[in-house]
């Protein structure tokens, strides 16, 4: 399993893209998707709502469980991935690409986001 180098990662297994024009894309990692199993329902934050780093902002349901989705950064949600809402299995098939979850206009980010290597070490424990 390889974690893209250009992304940064939370210990709660979300990834966040480099900020472009103030906006970053957020998703969950392949590690998290594998741990969840088939995702069948994604409740994403509403566009226009404010999310806070480290706090729950939605949930992902799989066959066996439901997991909170944590915001890896703080800011205003500008877009959600409607494709994932309609077909949550994208989270399993392409967690770093077509399975992205939402975009956020970043107001602040925690200083403990992990690099790809650090995240790989975190999940190897």
């Amino acid at each position: 399993m390889s974690n893209p180098e250009q992304l940064r990662y939370s210990k709660e297994h979300e990834w966040v893209s480099p900020v472009e024009d103030g906006v970053a894309t957020v998703g969950i990692t392949e590690f998290a998707a594998n741990a969840l199993g088939d995702v069948v329902y994604a409740q994403l934050p509403e566009v226009g709502s404010t999310v806070t780093a480290g706090e729950a902002c939605g949930e992902l349901e799989s066959t066996k469980s439901v997991s909170d989705l944590y915001a890896p950064v703080s800011g205003e949600v500008t877009e959600i991935n409607e494709d994932v809402v309609n077909d949550p299995s994208l989270v399993n098939s392409a967690p770093f690409e077509a399975g992205w979850l939402f975009k956020v206009r970043v107001t602040s980010e925690p200083d403990d986001l992990l690099s790809a290597d650090e995240y790989a070490a975190h999940t190897a424990d």
Binding site: N34, G37, Y41, Q43, T63, K64
Partner: protein, 375 residues
């Protein structure tokens, strides 16, 4: 490595094989079992449309033999085992004296005076203890055979075609809920036409040392038919769609078979007394006079998934509780089994909701099972 106080989990004879297949393992009833190998949805659909291969070696086998084996079983269990012919099987339950369900079981008659009792892994010790205690005074032996068997299951519409080339046993003549001794891929096996998926299929009881060879032979023989290894996750959604109860979810010591809607397995007209008889007679009368809660099916109108323990609500009050819930791969929407007040139990009842973490999601009451195979 640090030592821990956690009890050591048991592993099946196929443990290394599961890991080599990349299975996600899970703790289940004291065992480390494969939860899924890839997508549990794909595994589920494989069993519904083709075939799936399961390791069920955690199930608890108990052999009962002797001239009074049948008398003992009739005393210890709620069913009438005297009507089980040689080579046939019976779904039944074992209850406490107060009528509470200790476990649900399948009893195979494997000889004139020999029966194989298969208990749930979580209850195997309790069932063994109860049978042993109840055997006092009977000319019968109760033997713990949990380590004597590995159990593999081939389930799905292609199960017969997969198994047939591997055995000389007369599978076509083997009826549902029947079993015979034979050889499969050179491995001596008790071949049973039983399962927990709602599909046609077979369960193969074999020596633990033969399990891996049999698994490999079945994998190879099943490949052209699309057979895939299947974990406990899809086993649970398959049995839920088929409306089959799971001990610990739909069944417990707090319920009698009548409360659980399985009163039909209790046979009062059999010869002799049996453990729980008096309490079960009272339970039958009580439920007939005024049914308390009734086990029903629920189908979601939305997409949020109900889980065991969630409240069922209607008319502003709690009217029941979900016992099992999952997204149904076959129906394409969430389903659940739940105990609800009798007034809300009729199929077609609407206005019922499940409290999913504070949000009341609409559900419709339906008759069980959710899925029935076309024969």
């Amino acid at each position: 490595m640090s030592s821990t106080d956690a009890p050591r989990l048991r592993r099946t004879p196929l443990d290394a094989l599961h890991r080599s297949l990349g299975a996600t393992m899970t703790d289940f009833a004291g065992w480390e079992m494969p939860l899924r190998y890839g997508s549990e949805r794909e595994e589920h659909l494989a069993v519904r449309t083709r075939a799936g291969l399961f390791d069920l070696s955690h199930m608890g086998e108990i052999t009962v033999t002797g001239p009074q084996a049948v008398a003992l079983l009739n005393y210890a269990l709620v069913g009438n085992i005297a009507t089980v012919g040689p080579g046939r099987a019976r779904y039944t339950m074992i209850c406490r004296a107060d009528g509470g369900i200790l476990d649900d079981l399948i009893v195979y008659r494997t000889g004139e005076h020999e029966y194989l009792v298969v208990a749930n892994a979580s209850n195997a010790q309790a069932v063994l203890d109860a049978l042993t205690e109840r055997a006092a005074g009977f000319d019968a032996e109760v033997r713990d055979d949990r380590d004597a068997y590995a159990l593999l299951a081939v389930q799905g519409p292609e199960a017969l075609a997969v198994l047939k080339p591997l055995t000389d046993a007369d599978l076509d003549g083997l009826k549902y809920y029947a079993a015979l001794s034979g050889t499969v891929a050179g491995v001596p096996a008790l071949i049973a036409r039983t399962g927990y998926t709602g599909e046609d299929g077979f369960e193969l009881f074999v020596a633990p040392g033969d399990a891996e060879r049999l698994w490999q032979a079945l994998t190879e023989a099943g490949a052209p038919a699309g057979l895939v290894p299947c974990g406990l996750s899809c086993r649970d959604t398959l049995r839920l769609e088929a409306g089959m109860p799971l001990y610990g979810n739909e069944l417990s010591t707090a319920l009698t078979p009548f409360d659980a809607g399985f009163g039909r397995v209790v046979k009062f007209d059999k010869e002799g007394d049996f453990v729980g008889r008096e309490a079960l007679l009272a339970a039958a009368e009580r439920v007939a006079a005024e049914p308390s809660r009734v086990l029903v099916g629920l189908v979601a109108q939305g997409r949020r998934v109900p889980r065991a323990g969630y409240s069922v609500v209607a008319d502003g009050k709690v009217i029941g509780e979900v016992t099992s819930g999952a997204p149904s791969p076959t129906l394409g929407k969430p389903i659940a089994m739940a105990y609800v007040d009798a007034a809300y139990a009729a199929p077609g009842t609407t206005g019922v909701a499940v409290d999913i973490r504070g949000s009341h999601e609409p559900y419709e009451v339906v008759a069980l099972p959710f899925y029935k195979r076309q024969k």
